[in-house]
């Protein structure tokens, strides 16, 4: 998980499957190279399918940017655990993390592409969520 000093919005990919999360991250890197801080997490605390708050907190830390972080999630538990993780962040960071209502792979690629152009967190979230509209 190499990172970016670009100051662009960070992208976090949360899937129940570490393979899906890593693969989606590979697709993001292919699109935007190192222009965007990026991290992924997948699996329960023992490495089975699932999501876990500690892993999500760590991913947010890795992808942290002063411009904020957009999280892409797959199924319900990924979203619930991501919301829990956001609430556990320090207060000054909490308001700069959003969970996008978008498909995880497409949303991550679109969000990262938007971020790589220097867009704001709200623009990054909007472009990912427009995929559903």
């Amino acid at each position: 998980m190499s990172n970016s000093e670009s100051g662009n919005v960070g992208i976090v990919i949360v899937s129940h499957s570490a393979k899906i999360a890593e693969g989606a991250a590979d697709m993001v890197r292919q699109m935007v190279g190192n222009a965007v801080p990026l991290a992924w997490t997948g699996g329960d605390p023992e490495g089975g399918l699932g999501t876990n708050v500690a892993g999500i907190l760590k991913a947010i830390e890795i992808a942290w940017s002063s411009a904020g972080v957009a999280i892409l999630v797959d199924l319900g538990g990924a979203e619930t655990n991501s919301e829990m993780a956001v609430e556990m962040l320090a207060e000054d960071r909490r308001g700069r993390v959003v969970i996008c209502n978008a498909p995880v792979v497409e949303g991550a690629v679109i969000a990262a592409t938007e971020s790589s152009g220097g867009s704001s967190l709200s623009a990054v979230q909007r472009s990912a969520e427009e995929f559903y509209a």
Binding site: H16, G43, D44, P45, E46, G48, L49, G50, T51, N52, V53, A54, L75, G76, G77, T80, N81, E83, M84
Partner: protein, 204 residues
């Protein structure tokens, strides 16, 4: 209600054992209408809670409940982690060290509201709320321990004919009908264990 150190330890053990001993049953319920990990996830969470004993029981009741909740949030690894964890965390925020029955009624009510907010859900969607809400209602209305435990078991059974509209089971649509909700079953186990222990330890 006064809970000394030994009573708190017994309560934590009873809660954990109730879930751990039924892990296979919870998994098989979840295999029918979910992703089949509920038993394993809850077992992992409550084993982590057990591992914090005996020190956990030295904490004040509010702090002990918050610690249980945080441990579950961090260790369960599924949507039930934040949901059940939030219940314990918020219960810990709302109870005094020596709660009266009316304190517990108020605190469980607040904790259930937090679970609803966390899951953006209400009773009637085939989730643990279908146990928590009716059990809390009869608790608030003055039911005794036996009636509370009986209602918890019955409420879980009542989820069987329900259509899931929230959680993984909702993906199955009408095929979710005819199976007991695993989250409701684990909630009923925890309530049964809590009530039995509090009756012995504190004369609930």
């Amino acid at each position: 209600m006064s809970l000394n150190r030994a009573a708190k330890e017994n309560l934590v053990r009873a809660l954990a054992v109730s879930v751990i001993e039924h892990a296979d049953e919870l998994t098989s319920l979840d295999q029918a209408i979910g992703d089949g990990d509920h038993g394993l996830n809850m077992k992992r969470g409550f084993e982590a809670v057990l591992a914090t004993l005996p020190g956990l029981a030295d904490k004040s009741l509010p702090e002990m409940l918050r610690t249980i909740g945080t441990t579950l949030v961090m260790k369960v690894g599924g949507a039930s982690g934040p949901l059940v964890g939030t219940f314990f965390i918020e219960l810990g925020k709302a109870v005094p060290e020596q709660p009266t029955r009316s304190d517990l009624v108020g605190a469980t009510g607040k904790a259930i509201e937090s679970v609803k907010a966390r899951g953006r859900s209400e009773a009637g969607q085939k989730t643990l709320l279908d146990v928590l809400v009716p059990v809390q209602a009869i608790f608030a209305a003055g039911a005794d321990a036996e009636a509370i435990a009986a209602e918890a078991a019955k409420a879980a059974v009542r989820t069987t004919p329900m259509l899931a509209t929230r959680g993984r089971a909702s993906f199955l649509g009408e095929r979710s009908i005819g199976h007991m909700d695993p989250g409701s079953r684990s909630a009923s186990l925890l309530i049964g264990a809590a009530v039995a222990t509090l009756t012995i330890e504190a004369g609930l």
